[in-house]
Symmetry: C2
Subunit: 380 residues, 2 copies
């Protein structure tokens, strides 16, 4: 937070001073004995955050989007089938990415504000053999949460060979997520949301089963920069305490990520307590919205994310009425992103320190500003 | 520089306090009115640094390597020919990247310490139609400089349709480089070398001719994350003062890049003076090496980079004798990287503030340490 503004968009989020300080670490060699264990720790702590013991983490310089390329280029071969569950903007983009690398994609599209039903998933999985299924855990465009546990269960039951790919860009470290227990094969995410770090790091964890599928592929990997043939030995080397080189890692951002992970994986508040603190913060925002008569995009509480909220403007009110007024009070929220209803709603992020560090008063600042702004608008 | 160590590897390099401070900028929205002009300025100043007026810059979250994917996925179609000039480690990697996206690659390989001769280039260009030619301006593995101006001239004369692709990861802002005047079609680089910023930004400038080749391609772009179909509208929007979204840009690193570019593009020292300051710093290092009887990898002064120096160890001396001793004096240099001679040499970087800000005394610190260490070794 700078002196005057609170950033509560659904990413980038507010970043702690410790993390910013680490991002300003003096320049270091990417192969130095000081840096290697920092990178190694980040790999280990990434596994902890997604509650996995055997997953293989990848930390690569790039935006969250690069995680899609990693999946599309390494885990599916040209001509194989992918099933994309569509609960907002990002389903279409992931589809396009998969098709770029030759996959044949079917989409299951939920209505705006809902996630795809288990019945629809089951029926699709029975109709065709899919190499992988992808879903957006929380779609940043709609704040719709998909039931990761139920989806994975359905896949294991109906089509156990299909890999379950969870896009957790807007969910890791803010929504409950148990990679191993639920049987998720890939969790992909980015640094600038629940993980509380500036943007620029593509973070992915692959299950042993996913790595096996990768290793047994016969077609060449479709990308150079996103190739696990290149990155897997690098990640293994750093975790084992040795340097290795494919492309220069984003050294400062790794220090920043280390600082944030050290907070997220500490005993108190524990990761479970963090999930709970996000639930509480979310409830406060959603209660305030309900008081003000603002309708969520999520059609049912079961579809509502804990790390962000998307709210329709009241009839006759536009983004231009609301966002500048919130801005004038120092509260930076985001406009709509979903093409079909872009101008009809706005989004509030409540992830990371904003949700977890109650003493900051961020949630209180947001709810107060919302009340004041909508009271002003109502007066007109 | 931290309190005790001077980082003089050929990237990441020492970063100024202003740049580190900017990297710790409070979290900002990537579409905020404050950030948009910062991004726009970075695009404009990037053009200035490579001495181009019409080039199209791309700034994408990623390592320098991602620049190869941009070239290979956007500028050449499957089955088309590429000619790779090989003056060290990076020629092989660029070849592999081009082949990943379907290009047919021929390599012209110079002996270690030399660049490819103009005669060999001319003869290759006459033998076959090449969509593009790539060369490593300074190969970080060997410190060999290729004559960019002469290469571009040869291409324009013999095969004017062939695009000239300059890998400037280890040359931009440290070696003389005139994109427009010399007729270079693509300059690709990264943030952590001459540009003096932490790693994590893939920086590329494409000539109007290159953009035309991209726009007239018939095959789909082979990458999603590196696709100019996605990024070109984003770069144009930010430069025009509007936000646009494909993937979240590395906001803090863009602030850091802005801080460094503001230094590099200022009137004094001018860019031309910077080239000269790099030449002077380089000469001091190379003179000291010569005094100490250390032989450069570069077989001829014409092949010697100005931003770094690669030196063979004397007979009977190994990395283990030299690097820890330099380290104990606070000087961090790099070992060998070129597979064939990896253990026989070491590398010193002298780019950015180390070369330009004489009052830091970095070059003096390096030459003094070199003299002391090799005197100690000689005594044994």
């Amino acid at each position: 937070m700078d002196a005057t503004r609170l950033l509560v968009i659904p990413g980038p989020i507010e970043v702690s001073d410790e993390v910013l300080y680490a991002n300003a670490h003096p320049s270091m060699s990417h192969v130095s004995p000081d840096f290697i264990p920092i990178f190694g720790d980040c790999l280990r702590m990434t596994r902890e955050v997604v509650l996995s013991t055997e997953g293989q983490p990848f930390l690569i310089s790039g935006s969250g989007t690069l995680g899609w390329d990693q999946v599309a280029a390494n885990l599916i071969q040209p001509g194989e089938n992918a099933l994309v569950l569509h609960s907002g903007y990002f389903g279409d983009s992931f589809t396009e990415c998969l098709e770029t690398y030759g996959a044949k994609v079917d989409q299951l599209k939920a209505e705006i504000g809902a996630a795809v039903s288990p019945e629809a998933i089951e029926s699709a999985l029975k109709s065709k053999k899919y190499r992988l299924l992808t879903f957006t855990h929380v779609d940043t465009s709609t704040a719709v949460l998909s039931d990761a546990k139920a989806i994975a269960e359905t896949v294991k039951r109906v089509s156990p060979e299909t890999l379950v790919i969870l896009d957790g860009v807007c969910s890791v470290a803010s929504e409950e997520l148990r990679m191993d227990a639920w049987g998720i094969d890939v969790v992909l995410t980015a640094s600038q949301k629940g993980l509380g770090v500036p943007p620029g790091l593509s973070i992915l964890v692959a299950s042993p089963k996913a790595i096996k599928v990768f290793e047994s592929r016969t077609a060449p990997v479709g990308s150079y920069y996103a190739s696990w043939k290149k990155w897997l030995p690098i990640m293994k080397a750093y975790e084992a305490g040795n340097a290795a080189y494919f492309a220069t890692p984003p050294v400062n951002l790794i220090y920043a990520y280390h600082a944030s992970l050290s907070q997220i994986t500490k005993k108190s508040p524990s990761l479970e307590e963090r999930f709970e603190l996000h639930r509480k913060a979310s409830q406060q925002i959603k209660d305030t919205a309900a008081e003000l008569g603002l309708k969520q995009l999520a059609l049912d509480p079961a579809f509502a994310a804990q790390g962000m909220t998307a709210l329709y403007f009241p009839e006759g009110v536009s983004a231009g009425d609301v966002l500048p007024k919130l801005g004038a009070k120092g509260i930076v929220v985001a406009g709509g992103l979903h093409g079909a209803i872009k101008d009809k709603y706005f989004r509030i992020g409540h992830m990371g320190i904003t949700a977890v560090e109650g003493q900051r008063g961020d949630i209180q600042s947001v709810t107060t500003a919302l009340k004041e702004v909508f009271a002003e608008i109502a007066k007109k």
